[in-house]
C-alpha cells in the first residue's frame, strides 16, 4: 500500500509534536522514521495508523483520504514497543484475535494461526500465556498477531526498543528477511540509526516535529541535508566550521594546502581502527578515525603536531 502524508500538524496541549510533515511511503518499501525521542516519529506513525487524529493535513492510502478513518478500517498491522500482549489469552488466542474478530471459520483460523506460529518460531509455546515468554518471544508473537489479518501496511513503533542488544540484532535481521519474503509495506519507528541503516531502504530523519531529510540510507549518511542529520546518523566533528565524519579527516605530518595545524592529545587503538584525539589551533577539540595501517605510517604519539585536512568535495556544501 502506498502512503502519503500531506502537511500534517499535531499539538498536544502546548507541545507541538508535528509541524507540516509530508512523507511518501512507496508500495512495498521498508521505511524508517528515525529521530531522537520527542522528535514526533511515534506521533506520525500513530497518525498513519489512525490511533491519533492530526490537527491539520491529510493522510492518504493508495490515493484515498483516510485522515478521519478509524484504525479498524485502515488495513494496518501495528506493533508496539511494549508488545501490548493480551495477557489473559494464550499465545495462540493472541495471534487468532484479529481472525476471530473477522468471524472466519474455525478451521481456517486454526490453519492460519499454525502457519504464523511456525513463521515466528513459537509453535511450542502456543498454549502459554504471554507472561511466560521472553521479551523477544513476546514481540514475535505481537508480530504474528499483526500479520494474521494480512495487513496492507505494517507499522512498527520502536519494536525492538525494549529488548537487549543480541535479541535486537537477531530480530532486526529476521524482520528484514520477513519483509523481503512477504513484501508488506512497512514503516518502522526507531531512534537507533544503526537499526535504520541496516533494515530500511528509505530513511526519514525527524527532528523537533519536522522531517529533516528523506532518502536511501547511503544518501542520508553521505549527503546529509542538515547538520542535525549529519550528527544524528553517525559520529561527526567540526573542523574549520564544517561538520565532517571523523573517518573523512586526513592527517599529515607536513603542512599542506587547506590543512589545519593540530596537536595530538590521545591515540586510542580500537582493533582495526585507531582514534586520534586532537586539539586544534583555535582551542577546539576534534577526533579523527584512521585505519591501523594509516596510523602505523604516521607513528603518532601524544603531543605530536599534525596537519588536518577535511574532505574538500563534500565540505563546501556543509558549511554551517
Amino acid at each position: 500500500m502506498r502512503i502519503e502524508v500531506v502537511d500534517v500538524g499535531k499539538q498536544f496541549g502546548k507541545f507541538t509534536a508535528l509541524t507540516d510533515v509530508s512523507l511518501e511511503v512507496a508500495e512495498g518499501s521498508l521505511t524508517a522514521l528515525l529521530g531522537p525521542s520527542g522528535s514526533g516519529k511515534s506521533t506520525l506513525l500513530r497518525i498513519i495508523a489512525g490511533l491519533e487524529t492530526p490537527d491539520s493535513g491529510h493522510v492518504l492510502t493508495d490515493g484515498l483520504d483516510v485522515t478521519r478513518a478509524r484504525p479498524q478500517d485502515r488495513g494496518i498491522g501495528f506493533v508496539f514497543q511494549h508488545y501490548a500482549a493480551f495477557n489473559h489469552m494464550s499465545v495462540r488466542e493472541n495471534v487468532a484475535f484479529g481472525l476471530r474478530i473477522r468471524k472466519l471459520p474455525k478451521p481456517e483460523v486454526q490453519a492460519r494461526v499454525d502457519e504464523l506460529l511456525k513463521l515466528v518460531g513459537l509453535t511450542a509455546w502456543s498454549g502459554q500465556r504471554p507472561a511466560q515468554l521472553s521479551g523477544g518471544q513476546r514481540q514475535r508473537m505481537a508480530l504474528a498477531r499483526a500479520l494474521a489479518v494480512e495487513p496492507r501496511v505494517l507499522l512498527l513503533d520502536e519494536p525492538f526498543g525494549a529488548l537487549d542488544a543480541k535479541v535486537r540484532a537477531e530480530l532486526r535481521q529476521w524482520l528484514r528477511r520477513l519483509h523481503d519474503e512477504q513484501g508488506v509495506t512497512t514503516v518502522l519507528v526507531t531512534h537507533d540509526q544503526e537499526e535504520a541503516m541496516e533494515v530500511a531502504d528509505t530513511i526519514a530523519v525527524m527532528h523537533e516535529g519536522r522531517i529533516e531529510q528523506t532518502g536511501a540510507p547511503r544518501d542520508v549518511y553521505d549527503r546529509p541535508a542538515t547538520d542535525f542529520v549529519m550528527g544524528f546518523l553517525g559520529p561527526a566533528v567540526r573542523v574549520d566550521g564544517q561538520l565532517v565524519r571523523p573517518h573523512d579527516l586526513r592527517l599529515a605530518l607536513e603542512p599542506e594546502d587547506h590543512a589545519l595545524e593540530a596537536m595530538v592529545t590521545r591515540v586510542v587503538h580500537l582493533g582495526f581502527e585507531v582514534r586520534v584525539e586532537l586539539e586544534l589551533a583555535d582551542g577546539r577539540t576534534a577526533r579523527a578515525q584512521l585505519t591501523r595501517g594509516e596510523a602505523n605510517q604516521l607513528e603518532l604519539s601524544d603531543g605530536d603536531i599534525v596537519y588536518v585536512r577535511p574532505p574538500v568535495a563534500t565540505g563546501a556544501e556543509l558549511t554551517a
Partner: protein, 272 residues
C-alpha cells in the same frame, strides 16, 4: 527495619488485642447472646415473618443496587481514565461524595428531592409512584452510599493496564464494544469482582440513609439492619434477644460476602 523479638511480640499482642476488643469480642457476644434462650428460641426469632421478609428485602435491595453500581462504576472508570472530556477532575471528586457525606444527610437529601413537597416528589406521587417510605427510596439510598466502591477499585487497575492493549485490539479490527468485552473487561475483572463484593457488603449493612427514607414497617420497608435496630430499641429482654438473632442473620450474610472476598483476593494474587 529491624525490630527485636520482644518488640515484635508486643506489637503483635497490641494488634490482636485491638482487633479482639473492637471487632471479635462484640461480634462474638452477639453470636453468644443469640443463643441465650436456646437454639429453638433463636431460630424462632430468625424466622418470624418480619425477619424473613427483612432478609429477603435486604437481599433484593442488594440485588438491584449492586448491578446498577457495577455498570455505573465500570463506565465511570472508563470515562475517568480513558476519557478526554473536560470536567473529569470534578467527576472524580464527586464520586467520593458518598464517602464524605454522612448517610443520614443522604437520606434527608433524598426526602427533600423525592419526598412529599420535594422537588420531584409530587410529580412522582401524582403518577402513583412512591419513592420515599417505599422500597424504591431504600434502593436509591443504597445505590448512593455504595457508589464509589467499584470506581475506586477499577480505575487504578485501568490506569495500570494502560491503553496499548485496547489500541492493539482496534488495529486488529475490533470495534469499541468488542474491545471492551474481549480485552478491557478481562483485564480489569478482579478489580470489578472486588468492587462488587465491597459494594454488596455495604448494601447489605447500610442503615443510616435507609433509616431516614424507610417507613420502618415490617413486611414492606424493613431491611435486616433496620430490624436489628427496631428490635433493639424496644423494651424487654425478649426484644433484645430478637435483635441479637436478627443481627446474627446479618452477620452470617456479611461473613459469606467476606469469605467470597478472601477467596477472590487469593485468586487475584495467583493470576498476577
Amino acid at each position: 527495619m529491624r525490630v527485636s523479638r520482644p518488640a515484635t511480640l508486643s506489637l503483635r499482642a497490641v494488634g490482636l488485642l485491638y482487633l479482639a476488643g473492637l471487632l471479635l469480642l462484640p461480634v462474638g457476644v452477639v453470636l453468644v447472646r443469640t443463643f441465650d434462650h436456646g437454639l429453638g428460641q433463636a431460630w424462632g426469632w430468625m424466622t418470624t415473618p418480619a425477619a424473613i421478609s427483612a432478609l429477603w428485602l435486604t437481599i433484593a435491595i442488594a440485588a438491584i443496587a449492586v448491578p446498577l453500581n457495577t455498570i455505573f462504576g465500570v463506565g465511570c472508570s472508563l470515562v475517568l481514565v480513558r476519557g478526554r472530556a473536560r470536567g473529569r477532575a470534578i467527576l472524580d471528586s464527586l464520586i467520593d461524595l458518598p464517602f464524605v457525606v454522612s448517610p443520614v444527610i443522604v437520606g434527608l437529601a433524598l426526602i427533600l428531592v423525592y419526598g412529599q413537597d420535594g422537588w420531584f416528589g409530587n410529580w412522582f406521587l401524582n403518577n402513583g409512584i412512591r419513592i420515599i417510605y417505599a422500597p424504591a427510596g431504600i434502593v436509591i439510598a443504597t445505590v448512593f452510599v455504595s457508589l464509589p466502591f467499584v470506581v475506586r477499585e477499577v480505575a487504578p487497575i485501568l490506569m495500570e493496564v494502560g491503553e496499548e492493549q485496547e489500541e492493539a485490539a482496534a488495529t486488529l479490527g475490533a470495534s469499541g464494544w468488542q474491545t471492551f468485552w474481549r480485552v478491557t473487561l478481562p483485564s480489569i475483572r478482579w478489580g470489578v469482582a472486588y468492587g462488587v463484593v465491597l459494594t454488596t457488603a455495604r448494601a447489605l449493612g447500610e442503615i443510616g440513609a435507609v433509616l431516614v427514607v424507610s417507613s420502618n414497617v415490617a413486611g414492606s420497608t424493613l431491611t435486616l439492619p433496620l430490624l436489628v435496630y427496631q428490635r433493639d430499641s424496644q423494651l424487654g429482654p425478649q426484644a433484645i434477644t430478637g435483635a441479637y438473632a436478627a443481627a446474627t442473620e446479618l452477620i452470617v450474610l456479611s461473613l459469606a460476602v467476606l469469605l467470597l472476598m478472601t477467596l477472590l483476593g487469593s485468586r487475584r494474587e495467583v493470576t498476577k
